[in-house]
């Protein structure tokens, strides 16, 4: 197979892969007790300092102390309701599943033949991901992802595709239909590969093949 291997692909620095800038919000929300204002301030803070910042601790301390409110001794019920609403508000708006999220799920899968990720090799590209989702959990949604193999006769395109499918099927709610396609004109046997990758029955069978699973699980190691 070696002659299929693209010896020197163009590589993108990991840091240069498209990413969600405000992802630091993780740290913020974790310790989150405060209100919108504080959240906002914490975000600001993280733009100049890391999550271990003492200032951050200090903000949280202050919030904490401000929040130790005397309970409404009269009507407990209400006060609980209120605090509950606060909780909900604190969660802020729903983060919709977008192309970036799908990208983050797939870009870090490692290529079976290079010690590099699909993102770095531009096999997966943000611009080639579509998400169709009306947001209603009762309805189906669709993700279409077009991949670009490193070279037109890359025999591993199918394996890469399988890796992506397994990753997405494990990661997305059941209401998502996943379509994986080779980008037009990037592969000699585009149609065969596409048909294969989107044949539910073949994929299901592949997922019962220990050796294949092994390869896939190696590809997914780098995802966490």
């Amino acid at each position: 197979m070696s002659e299929f291997i693209n010896e020197n692909p163009d590589v993108i620095e990991i840091d240069d892969l498209p990413s969600r800038k405000e992802d630091v919000s993780r740290d913020i929300l974790l310790g989150s007790v405060g209100n919108e204002m504080t959240l906002q301030r914490k975000k600001l803070l993280l733009s100049i300092d890391d999550s271990k910042s003492k200032v951050l601790q200090n903000l949280e301390l202050l919030d904490k102390l401000l929040l130790i409110n005397p309970p409404e001794l009269t009507s407990d019920e209400e006060s609980i309701e209120e605090s509950d609403d606060e909780e909900l508000n604190a969660e802020g708006p729903t983060d919709v599943v977008d192309a970036q999220e799908i990208y983050d799920l797939t870009a870090h899968i490692s290529d079976p033949e290079h010690p590099l990720s699909l993102g770095q090799l531009s096999i997966v590209n943000l611009s080639d991901i579509e998400v169709h989702d009306c947001g209603d959990p009762k309805k189906m949604a669709e993700v279409v992802i077009r991949i670009t193999p490193t070279i037109t006769h890359c025999s591993l395109a199918t394996l890469i595709g399988l890796g992506i499918r397994v990753r997405l099927e494990r990661s997305l709610p059941p209401r998502y239909r996943i379509t994986i396609l080779l980008k037009e004109g990037t592969h000699n046997s585009e149609n065969q590969v596409n048909k294969q990758l989107n044949d539910k029955e073949r994929v299901a069978a592949a997922c019962e093949n220990e050796q294949l699973l092994g390869v896939v699980s190696k590809m997914l190691l780098t995802c966490l």
Binding site: D15, S47, I48, K54, L62, L65, S171, G214, L224
Partner: protein, 1076 residues
């Protein structure tokens, strides 16, 4: 049998020895039962004098033989005893031989052996000058007579060895022995332990009679011949070690070695490359590397081997095993270094050829490793075993160095040969990295080689190119020669700054060109050329490290480049490369960095957040980036920190004038805060005093006048902390008057004790910073007034004010009031919210100093928990006792700011834990149970898990129940503790996993008390289980988890989804072996 009989007598003979030392020995003996025993032994003891000692010797010998091989230490003890008799002239060594006679001539091998062993032992213990000339020769001949008795060989040689160590040993014996060993001795017949002695003998001879031997040509040759004889075919590691050692001695100390050089070489190189795996319990503790090194130093010890060594080593280079190669290369280097250039003349060509092959075909180090802002050398240094590639380069360096040291022309020949072979690579961009590595390593040898290489090589690739790939290569290759410079002339050091005089060298001629190319590489390319830009920055940094290379102006230029880059480029690699660069530079030239970089950046800060920072016409820089950079690279840089603080303060007082600049003020204050926090120990009293006098007046002013600060909770609290740091570090001598001054300002002027004020917090923080030992007469009065103010119902509107006053209570009770005074302010009967808070904060002040009252206070608070009315609130208050308040933390080297005992949390936890647990178990009221749990888990949240460990077994069940309490924070803190637990107590968690997992699978679903944190932590904990709980347990609930995590996959929050995916993946992979 023998042995049995005699061992019975041991104790008796022991006795005997003692008594004989006694004066009245004789008479005593007559009446001694032991006498009879001795009669049995066939000796008569009532004769006094020497004979009596002979008997003793007999007895001793018997014991010795009884113990030999059975109990060597004991035998040895006896030998020592006998030796003493000899040394004290009580008996002669010959007497011992006589006494041994019977045994020595015995038919039984073991008897003979032990007997001679006994003699040799004694001999080995004798002082070198104990034996006289003739005694020696007698004994020598005695041993000689035994030489044909193989059984005795070991002891014979042992004895011979001791003899050779004697002072009066003569050439005759030496010669005789050497001949014996050379002709009569057949190493093949004996075990390693025996074979060891001949080597030892030679070593001893050399030690005692070096001059005699080397002085006499015949003896000299005989010695060498003998050595070769015994060393040939040796296999035992221990013997090889000494053999190599002797070989080195011979080649270095003996005459006429040339004649023997082949055999001498063979008994060395036959073993190369030596590999030996020490057996489990190897008594000699000989390691593979001991042998390697011994062999290496023997081979490299003398240049007579030069020809053979090099040709043979070159053959070994074809080996496939990297370890063999490594050994070969290192030996090569050792030889070159010790033989010197003269002996490399005939070998450098073949050497180079084999090295070239090695180097060109086995390059190492990728582009990415080059791109590491922390320079490569560091990385290499970390590796214990040097890579073959690196060693090969070192060999080149040694070769160059020695050849040059020997003769310039030879070096020139060598260099130009190498150079001409590599030159084409520059034209065809082939193996460039290796070629440059090679040339650079030649350059690293010394000034001359350096100049030669630089002059010839740099022109080959140092050209200003616009082609990115070419430029990339250029920059990487250049770096090797910059390293070479450092190798030859050294690295810039703070201590010796400007003192080191670097000899004029060719690198200087290219300085401008290099600077120009790097400058272009950095500025002349689109931001997309990350690699090129990063490389340029890294090379700039390298140049700074090249001692005495750059002038201040040039350094300033570089600083300017880096500053512009770090400000305008958002790429991480470049950012960190520049940061590293600026840090390095500021290590040596802080002033330059301040002038060119920091000042510049600070000046860029606008007065109004809405203004854009126009750096260049097209670049707009966010304020945040500047502040981030400042925080990142000023840390622990004295001037930079101080200047930044002062500048930012004055900037703040301008910004705060503009309404609605809250966020901008917040950023500035956060930066200030971090600057102080990160550099507490760096800032000296003088600095603090200076900073304080410069900025405090303004700060206090804007604190009250400017809305963005005065009315903004966060900003005001940050400012308060900045004031805290200033006072904390200000000279203690000033604290007293400062306190009075601040009381004037806050209490008299702002009247914070008359009417509620937001400025109580700054006042409180300032007090935190002041010395606890200064006088604060009005402390109690202040406390009283504060409490009154707090208790005046509904007077204090904002929670912020409230907190200010409560903290004030804590500081006063901790620092300036006696416990008993404070205690009077506790009124447990008053369950009003405010009084509870007051008692909590006063209480904390005491608890922190492990006051005698703290137990009582806590007991009362725990009682409150059972109160349906105030219980829930008190539960919350428990957090106040332990929550970390930064202005009350301990700073390194500062002990005057508060009375916080380091272990107070431990004590606190110990005090409350059991009571809480018990009360929890006793009560049946759910709400009350909840109160106990809430209190407990809120406390846990701020207690280091190490303190909790001892209580884990009682705690875990509670934690599990806490997970189902209708309170998000309780769940969060319980989950937090469970996570620590899972990491530390695998067994404990495993036992409870069947209870835990189902609960967690409930907590991952969005629901009233399952806040984001609850969901997230539950998922993290589930993931953690896959690594802490044995897989066979996990398999049991694998399916449930995978299925139970379907819903959370559509959580409204992305972070929850992400964690859910990771957790799920972890379970999918359970027991899955990644394909290799």
């Amino acid at each position: 049998m023998i042995q049995d009989d005699f061992s019975v007598l041991e104790p008796i003979i022991e006795h005997l020895k003692l008594h004989l030392k006694d004066q009245t020995v004789g008479s005593y003996l007559l009446s001694s039962p032991i006498a009879t025993v001795l009669v049995h032994l066939g000796t008569c003891c009532f004769k006094m004098g020497a004979t009596q000692y002979k008997d003793l010797v007999d007895a001793a010998i018997i014991t010795f033989i009884a113990n030999a091989e059975v109990n060597e230490p004991k035998a040895d003890e006896i030998a020592t005893q006998i030796t003493e008799y000899i040394t004290n002239k009580k008996i002669k060594l010959l007497d011992v031989i006589v006494a041994l006679k019977e045994n020595l001539t015995s038919e039984e091998d073991s008897k003979r052996e032990k007997a001679l062993h006994c003699l040799s032992c004694v001999l080995s213990k004798l002082h070198p000058d104990q034996l006289l000339r003739n005694e020696i020769s007698v004994i020598f001949n005695f041993y000689k007579s035994k030489f044909d008795d193989d059984v005795l060989m070991k002891s014979t040689l042992d004895g011979m060895n001791s003899l050779m160590g004697m002072k009066y040993i003569s050439v005759t014996e030496i010669t005789a022995l050497l001949e014996l060993l050379k002709d009569e001795y057949d190493a093949g017949k004996f075990l390693a332990a025996t074979r060891f002695f001949p080597f030892q003998i030679l070593e001893t001879m050399f030690r005692t009679s070096k001059d005699k031997i080397v002085g006499t040509p015949t003896l000299n040759n005989l010695f060498i011949a003998t050595f070769i004889q015994i060393a040939t075919g040796e296999k035992d590691p221990k013997n090889l070690l000494i053999s190599f050692k002797l070989n080195k001695i011979v080649t270095q100390e003996f005459e006429n070695v040339e004649e023997f050089k082949e055999p001498l070489f063979d008994i060395l190189f036959a073993y190369f490359p030596i590999t030996f795996k020490p057996p489990k319990n190897d008594p000699y503790k000989i390691s593979n590397s001991d042998l390697k090194l011994a062999l290496r130093s023997a081979l490299s010890s003398s240049s007579i081997f030069a020809h053979d060594v090099f040709s043979n080593l070159i053959d070994k280079m074809s080996a496939s095993s990297p370890n063999v190669k490594n050994d070969t290369l290192l030996t090569m280097k050792a030889c070159i270094d010790s033989y010197g250039g003269r002996h490399c003349v005939e070998s450098w060509l073949p050497l180079w050829t084999s090295l070239k092959f090695e180097l060109i075909h086995n390059s190492e180090g990728t582009e990415s490793s080059m791109l590491n802002p922390v320079t490569n050398e560091v990385v290499n240094a970390k590796k214990s075993v040097q890579s073959n590639y690196q060693v090969a380069l070192d060999v080149m360096k040694s070769l160059a160095f020695e050849l040059e040291a020997f003769d310039d022309d030879e070096f020139e020949k060598f260099f130009y040969h190498v150079f001409e072979e590599l030159k084409p690579n520059f034209t065809y961009d082939k193996d460039l990295k290796q070629s440059c590595n090679i040339l650079a390593s030649i350059a690293s040898a010394n000034l001359i080689t350096f100049n030669k290489v630089i002059t010839e090589t740099l022109p080959l690739f140092l050209e200003n190119t616009s082609e990115i790939p070419k430029l990339k290569l250029l920059l990487m290759n250049l770096s090797f020669f910059l390293d070479a410079y450092v190798n030859v002339f050294g690295e810039t050091k703070k201590e010796t700054l400007g003192q080191v005089i670097v000899p004029d060298n060719k690198m200087f001629e290219y300085k401008d060109e290099i600077l120009m190319i790097l400058g272009m590489g950095l500025t002349g390319n689109s931001k997309l050329e990350v690699t090129v830009r990063t490389l340029s920055v890294i090379q700039f940094t390298k140049m700074i490290k090249m001692v005495g290379y750059l002038s201040r102006d040039e350094i300033s230029l570089i600083v300017q480049y880096m500053t512009e880059t770090i400000l305008t480029d958002s790429n991480k690699n470049i950012y960190y490369a520049c940061l590293e660069g600026l840090k390095v530079i500021s290590d040596f030239y802080e002033d330059i960095v301040f002038e060119i970089s920091l000042k510049r950046m600070l000046d860029l800060l606008p007065n109004n957040a809405s203004e854009f920072i126009h750096f260049t016409d097209d670049e707009v820089i966010p304020i945040e980036r500047i502040l981030k950079i400042i925080l990142d690279f000023t840390t622990s840089r004295h001037i930079l920190v101080q200047e930044s603080i002062i500048y930012l303060c004055s900037k703040l007082s301008v910004v705060s004038k503009i309404g609605s600049s809250n966020d901008y003020c917040f950023l500035l204050l956060s930066t200030l805060y971090s600057l102080f926090e990160n550099n507490v120990s760096l800032i000296t009293e003088e600095d603090a005093d200076f900073i304080k006098s410069t900025v405090e007046p303004d700060l206090l002013k804007i604190m009250i006048t400017d809305a963005p600060i005065a009315t903004d909770d966060h900003n005001l609290s940050l400012l308060s902390n900045v004031l805290f740091f200033m006072n904390l570090k200000a000279s203690i001598s000033t604290h007293q008057e400062e306190l009075n001054r601040y009381n004037g300002i806050f209490i008299d002027e702002f009247q914070i004790l008359e009417k509620p004020s937001r400025f109580t917090l700054p006042y409180t923080k300032i007090l935190c910073g002041l010395d606890k030992n200064i006088k604060f007469e009005s402390a109690q009065e202040v406390l009283q007034m504060t409490i009154n103010l707090l208790k005046k119902n509904g007077l204090i509107q904002s929670r912020f004010e409230n907190v200010g006053y409560l903290e004030l209570l804590m500081v006063l009770s901790n620092k300036w009031l006696s416990e008993d005074v404070v205690e009077q302010f506790f009124d447990y009967s008053d369950k009003s919210i405010i009084n509870l808070e007051i008692m909590t904060w006063l209480g904390r002040g005491l608890v922190m100093k492990n006051s005698k009252f703290s137990t009582k206070i806590l007991e009362n608070f725990i009682k409150f928990l059972s109160d349906e009315q105030v219980g829930p609130f008190v539960a919350k208050l428990f957090e106040v006792f332990v929550i970390d308040i930064n202005s009350l933390q301990k700073f390194k080297g500062i002990n005057w700011n508060n009375n916080v005992k380091l272990l107070y949390k431990q004590k606190f936890f110990g005090d409350i834990f059991q009571i809480l647990v018990d009360s929890y178990k006793q009560t049946t009221v759910l709400t009350v149970k909840c109160n106990y749990l809430t209190a407990l888990s809120l406390v846990l949240k701020h207690t280091p898990s190490t303190l909790v460990e001892p209580f884990m077994n009682d705690l875990l069940p509670l934690l599990l129940q806490a997970l189902e309490m209708p309170n998000a924070e309780v769940r969060v803190s319980s989950l937090g503790t469970l996570k620590d637990t899972a990491e530390k107590f695998h067994q404990l968690v495993t036992d409870n996993v069947n209870t835990l997992v189902p609960i967690l699978l409930k907590l991952v679903l969005p629901e009233k008390y399952n806040t984001i944190s609850v969901r997230l932590l539950s998922l993290q904990l589930l993931e953690l289980l896959t690594t802490t709980v044995p897989i066979n347990y996990c398999e049991e609930f694998k399916a449930d988890v995978i299925n139970g995590l379907l819903k959370p996959l559509s959580d409204k929050k992305r972070i929850v989804r992400k964690q859910c995916i990771d957790t799920r993946q972890a379970y999918f992979e359970l027991g899955q072996v990644p394909f290799e």
